[in-house]
Symmetry: C2
Subunit: 427 residues, 2 copies
């Protein structure tokens, strides 16, 4: 990481919030700008006009929105019958905190969620100046590097992947059997579940040994080794050594739960990693599901890309979680949108994915050549076993991309036919 000297740090951060308040909108916006830069709740000595001119955050726009119809968050002051809602943009001088993601967070997402002047407050977008791009290297592998390592350079379809299921509890023999079946069925990508970290009964080091042994033997037969994302989530002091044991065993990917190690933890790993980093978004809902509070995916994904994930979970179309297809589609678009001109990472579609929704997903997201689609139960619950599930996923996506109806393809693919019979009636 390169930290520029003081003289070259210029530019501003633009933070966009959706707020609701019983105060005049402009006044509430000014409280946010003041609390998060030079001000406090009263004027203090040495708070000169010159200091304010150089350091104060400035409200750049206030655009009124319809009310959410929800009661205000606790503690909001004023009569909520007077409430108004708006999208506001606040500009922060980057020299207040420098090109540091943790200190950026303290400024744009620090105490302000606690302000009683607001009854709703959501950070929905964030634009950072170029100096962040010179500081944070971003993904080392991204889309092309990942496809190359998975032996799929130039492939036009999505990478087809799965999550080891059951999430926790498989012993060495069972895991080896499962991974071999998946590898022999030609899967592109396998990942540990986010619940599978470094359990004492079957530690990561043993898992790496078991899995890589199977994958290498399978590759000897198939000529191609799937990428396996080992979940190395742990205390920071273990991240580098966990990565190193995967690397030493010939593994090609590591996974972390971004929110469990923090953006700062991901960046720490990125500085030391020689493998792609698979970024899981578990815990995202804790600060994102309320439409009145927290931090939106658009912001989360920009920060995750800056600190260096190569793959980022976006949820999936027809998922088992709370987000609508429109929301998931927007998240995939966000991840595909260049950040500071680059930072291209692999959107990872996951949650409730099955062969039966390949056509629906393709219609929504278009060219899938940059995608990784993960089906857990959608593969492992196949009546013919996990290997048959892989075949069904591959057939379904091939049909979708070539414009063939899934039901038509199923007539010559018994694996897909079985999968459609199993999952075809899910909403």
């Amino acid at each position: 990481m390169h930290r520029p000297d003081g003289g070259s740090v210029s530019g501003n951060v633009l933070a966009t919030y959706e707020i609701a308040t019983a105060l005049p909108l402009e006044k509430a916006a000014a409280v946010i700008a003041g609390e998060q830069s030079s001000g406090t709740f009263v004027a203090v000595a040495r708070e000169s006009a010159e200091l304010k001119a150089r350091h104060a955050a400035v409200v750049r726009s206030v655009d009124e929105l319809p009310l959410s119809g929800r009661p205000p968050l606790p503690g909001a002051v004023g009569d909520w019958a007077d409430a108004r809602r708006a999208r506001i943009v606040v500009e922060f001088p980057v020299h207040n905190f420098g090109p540091s993601v943790p200190n950026l967070l303290a400024a744009v997402a620090g105490n302000l969620f606690e302000l009683r002047e607001l009854g709703e407050l959501r950070l929905v977008d964030l634009e950072v100046p170029d100096v962040f791009g010179t500081t944070y290297a971003g993904p080392a592998f991204g889309v092309e590097g990942t496809k190359a390592l998975a032996g799929k350079a130039g492939a036009t379809g999505p990478l087809i992947g799965t999550i080891v299921k059951p999430s926790v509890g498989l012993g060495p023999e069972e895991l080896a059997e499962l991974v071999e079946e998946l590898a022999m069925a030609g899967i592109d990508f396998i990942k540990d579940d986010e619940l599978q970290g470094n359990p004492p009964g079957f530690p990561l080091a043993d898992r790496v040994h078991v899995v890589m042994d199977v994958l290498k033997r399978a590759a000897d037969r198939t000529g191609r080794m799937p990428m396996y994302a080992f979940n190395i989530t742990d205390d920071i002091s273990h991240l580098a050594s966990n990565h190193d044991l995967v690397r030493a065993a010939g593994g090609t990917c590591v996974m972390v739960v971004i929110n469990a190690v923090g953006f700062a933890g991901v960046q720490y790993l990125r500085e030391r990693a020689e493998l792609p980093i698979h970024g899981h978004r578990a815990m995202f809902g804790a600060f994102a599901r309320s439409p009145q509070l927290g931090i939106a995916f658009r912001v989360f994904q920009k920060l995750a890309r800056l600190v260096g994930v190569d793959h980022l979970h976006t949820n999936g179309i027809a998922n088992k979680f709370y987000e609508t297809d429109d929301e998931v589609g927007a998240s995939i678009t966000d991840v595909r949108t260049p950040l500071l001109g680059g930072y291209h990472v692999v959107p990872v579609l996951s949650s409730g994915q099955t062969p039966a929704i390949a056509d629906r997903t393709y219609a929504r997201v278009g060219d899938p050549s940059d995608l990784l689609v993960l089906a857990g139960g959608g593969i492992h619950a196949h009546p013919g076993g996990s290997g048959a599930g892989v075949t069904a996923m591959r057939e379904a996506w091939d049909a979708a991309v070539t414009g063939e109806a899934l039901t038509a393809r199923a007539e010559r693919s018994p694996e897909l036919a079985a999968s459609l019979a199993q999952f075809g009636d899910r909403p």
Copy 2:
């Protein structure tokens, strides 16, 4: 950090949630337990009865609560007219993830906030088994170590502290002047604002030099050096070096924004720190303010103490934020409650604190000998200057603890009289 071998990892984690759902309560609780341990949305191969018996999370209790009266979070399934709300306790076998806070988080607070089966989901308590205590060293200094380093061993009143204000933008001369004034007025503790990290125009290294020079010169005159918490929040790779430059300059405390570096970042620092760690809770509101979603302070403070903060912000009585005095009082009680028999840290009362509420705070929190009370504007906005503000705070707390009315004390303390005139009518 000591990681026990597999054989000695036993016990269970108890996670308490408040949920609301339109499904039968027991069914919704079972979905949480399944999603966060061995299950997924369909039954899969190798999910044996034996595996489930060893690894499944188990719902231990379901106690119905009154409805919140709020519309459900987006995406909740079912007819909300059928909704019921409950406090549930789920037991997780610790051998699923081992004594690792990041992997614990993935289990008890991972994807579950996104489940459509729930219209409200809040993690409100967490009990961890003793193996976490042997893994995480917790606070190295705590209450007694902090008081000793601040030259206040055995003091019966609270430590009186302040935050540098304006939050950002003071130059070296102004900062030196302010710190000298505070030190000569006998303050116990000074901290950087959470917005003051490592700005390029006045980097941390320069700030440490300026502040420590002033503090040492003041100590030569007063015989006592206040503790100064330098905000060293930054990417992980800078935490140890930032700490080391504070230590090398004779500083006695470092501060981090817990949510900006993550619990994992705090733990990383704790392993390398020789100074007390002041834990700021900025961004807490993002996942805590909604009564329907997220993670409560009771859980947050336990994790912060495990990973090793010595001081933890609890908000303050009569604060400028959204929490009620009852909530803040409960947070202070939580921090004071032994965790695994220890982990005693300093509750830090901050936000809108002034001399005028010392009596009210004392009545609420009792014996203040373990507390650090921080007044920013409440000290710096004093008409007689920051030094007079310190005197007013000290007089107010001394009066409160000795049972004297603030107005009576003000008759012989002009500094307190001026402060009461300024702040006495705040609610």
